[in-house]
Amino acid sequence: MKFGIIGLGAHGITHANVLTRLGQTVIGVDANSEARAEFGETFDAKTYKNTASLYEQDIAGIIIATPNKFHEATATEALDAGFPTLIEKPLAHDLPSAERIVEVADQTGCPCLVSFSNKFQTACSVAKSYVESGYFGKITHIRARHVRRRGIPGRGTWYTSKDIAGGGALLDIGANLVNVLLYLTGWPTITEVVGNARSEFGKQDNYAYLDMYDDNGQAKMYDVEDSVTAFCKFGDGMTASIEVAWAANAQPEHKYVIQGTDAGAELRLSNDLSEKNESPLTNELSLLETRPDDIDHHVDAAVTVPDSDPLEREMRHFTTAATDEEHPTLNSVQQGLRVQRAIDTIYTASR
C-alpha cells in the first residue's frame, strides 16, 4: 500500500523509514525544495510541492509530520479529503488548534490517530496490563521523569520556536510522557498544578552537546522552555510529579515510578526513539511488592519483555486502522486532545 507523508523533515523521514521497513511505499509533500529532494532520493519516492497533488494519488492514508503549527491546516484538509490520518505528536501547537482538529475528525468520521510512540514499547504495554488486572490496587502517585542531559532537538529551528512549535520540552518529549502517564492511570483530569518552566541551556551561544536530533546547522530561533517540573493533583485523588528536560545537569533518565496501594512498579523507557544513541532501546519493567509471610519480605520482580520496535508496532496499528477503516481507542485523536489539555494546564501553571 501507498502512504502520503506531509512534512518531509526529520519526523517525516522517520515515519517513511518505518513504512518502507514494513513493505509499504511512500510519497511525500513539502513546500521546502531541499526537503523534497532529500526525501525523494532516500526513498526513491515521488514528491509534491502542494498537498492538493497528494490527494489525487491512490493512497491508503496520510501522515502529518509538518511543524506543529501546520498540523491543523494539513490534518483537517486530509480528513476532509477522506483519508485516514496519523498526526505526529503533539496533536497541535496549542489547545484551540487541537480542539479544531478533533472537531473535523469527528465530523468526517475518518480514522485519526496521534503518534505517541513510547506507549508502544512492550514494557509499557505490560505495565498497562498489570494496571488493568488490579495488581497495583489503587494508584496513588506516579513519578514521571524524562530528562536528557543535552538533548535539545533541532536547536534553533522550528522545534525551538514558540510560534511554530507552540512550546519546548513539555510539548515535545513531555507529550509522550503525559500520554504514558494518563494512559497508565485511566485518563484522569488534572485539578491542580504547581509548576515551573525554565529556559537555561538552549539560549547559550556556547551550548555544548554531543549529538542533536535534526541538526541542520541553521541555529536561529530559541524562545521555548528547555525544562519543566510540575506537581499535579488529579480529580480521583492521585498525584504525579512530572519532570521533563531537553537539557539538565543530571544523568539522563526516562522513568515512571508507579505507586499503588497494593504494589508498585518502575518502568524505564527509551530516552530517544530516533535510535541514534540507544541500541537496544531501554525497555524495562520491574514490579515491587511487600508480602506478609512468616517473615515479611519485599519482592522485586524484573519483567522480561520481548524487544519489539515500538515505531513498527505503532505504524501497524495505524495501517490496520487505515485499511479496515477502524477507530481504535489507542492513541485516538481524542486521547491526543486530552494530552494537549493536560499540557496546556501545566503550562498555564508553570509560566
Binding site: 513546500a31 531541499e34 498537498t51 509538518t66 511543524p67 491543523e72 520556536s161 514558540k162 511554530i164 539560549k203
Partner: protein
C-alpha cells in the same frame, strides 16, 4: 499621434512626470522654480506638468507650493498589498514594537534603496524620521547591509560602483574593503548592526528574511536612540528577538498555504 521618446526608448513625458513626483517625495514641499532648478527643466514645462498632475489629484497646491496628493497613496497602498513580506511579517512587527517599545520596520530592497513597507512604533517612540515609503541607502543602514550580505557578491559590487558609498555620518562605512569584511561578518552571524552609521544618535539591528530558494524577501529591523540602546540590548537582546521573528516569518512564508485560516 507620435510619442516623444529619448534615445533609450523611454517615453520622455513619463520620465519628466516621475522626476517631478520624486522631487516632491524627497523634498515634501517645493515651488515651481525649485523643481525646475533641480531637474534643469524650463519653469514653464514644470508648471504644465504640475497642472496636469494637480488635476488628476497626484499633486496638491497650496499658494505657490506643491506637494504629493493623496492619489499617490492609492498607488502605494496597492503596490504594498502585493508585497508578500508585508502580509507575512506585519503581525510579528506589531508584536515586537509593543514588546520592546521601539520602532520596528519591514524593509524591502528596490533599485538599490531600502523601502520601508511597514513600520510600527512602540510606546517609547515619540517621533520618527522614517515612514511607510521611506527610502534609504543600503550601506549605511542595518537593513541595507543585511540585504547586501545576503545577495551574490557580484551584485554587491554593482551597488558599490553605482552609489560610491557616500557617508551619512562619520561612522558610515565608505571603503569597499571595509564594507566587504563587514558583510562577511553579517553573513556569518545572520545579524546586521548599524552603530550610528545612518543617523548620528540612532542604533539599529536588522536580520534578513530568506526563504526556501535563497530568495531575500526583505529585512526586519528594530532601532532606538543611543540612550535606550545599551551594548547588551544592541548586541544580544534585540538580535535574538529579531532572529526568532525572522525564523518564524521565513517558516510561515515557506508554508504559507499550510497556515490554517481560522
Amino acid at each position: 499621434m507620435t510619442t516623444n521618446t529619448s534615445n533609450s526608448g523611454r517615453i520622455q513625458a513619463v520620465q519628466t512626470t516621475l522626476a517631478i513626483l520624486e522631487v516632491l517625495r524627497d523634498r515634501r514641499v517645493a515651488g515651481v522654480s525649485e523643481i525646475a532648478r533641480e531637474l534643469t527643466y524650463a519653469k514653464s514645462t514644470v508648471h504644465h506638468y504640475l497642472k496636469s498632475l494637480e488635476e488628476a489629484g497626484y499633486v496638491e497646491r497650496k499658494d505657490t507650493q506643491y506637494a504629493l496628493g493623496l492619489q499617490a497613496l492609492t498607488l502605494g497602498g496597492v503596490a504594498r498589498e502585493r508585497e508578500r513580506l508585508f502580509h507575512l511579517g506585519r503581525e510579528q512587527v506589531d508584536q515586537l514594537a509593543v514588546e520592546t517599545g521601539e520602532k520596528v520596520r519591514l524593509i524591502v530592497e528596490r533599485d538599490w534603496r531600502g523601502i520601508t513597507v511597514y513600520q510600527a512604533e512602540g510606546e517609547q517612540v515619540s517621533q520618527t524620521r522614517t515612514h511607510v515609503g521611506s527610502t534609504e541607502l543600503l550601506h549605511s543602514t542595518a537593513a541595507g547591509k543585511a540585504f547586501l550580505a545576503a545577495i551574490p557578491r557580484a551584485e554587491t559590487h554593482e551597488y558599490i560602483s553605482q552609489t560610491g558609498l557616500p557617508a551619512q555620518t562619520e561612522n558610515t562605512i565608505t571603503e569597499t574593503d571595509e564594507l566587504l569584511t563587514e558583510l562577511d561578518r553579517i553573513k556569518d552571524r545572520g545579524i546586521a548592526l548599524d552603530d550610528q552609521e545612518h543617523y548620528t544618535d540612532i542604533r539599529c539591528v536588522a536580520v534578513p528574511i530568506v526563504i526556501d530558494d535563497e530568495t531575500v524577501l526583505g529585512t526586519i529591523s528594530a532601532s532606538a536612540p543611543l540612550d535606550r540602546m545599551s551594548e547588551e540590548r544592541f548586541r544580544s537582546t534585540l538580535p535574538n528577538k529579531l532572529q526568532n521573528i525572522a525564523g518564524v516569518v521565513e517558516i510561515n512564508t515557506t508554508y504559507s498555504e499550510w497556515i490554517a485560516t481560522s
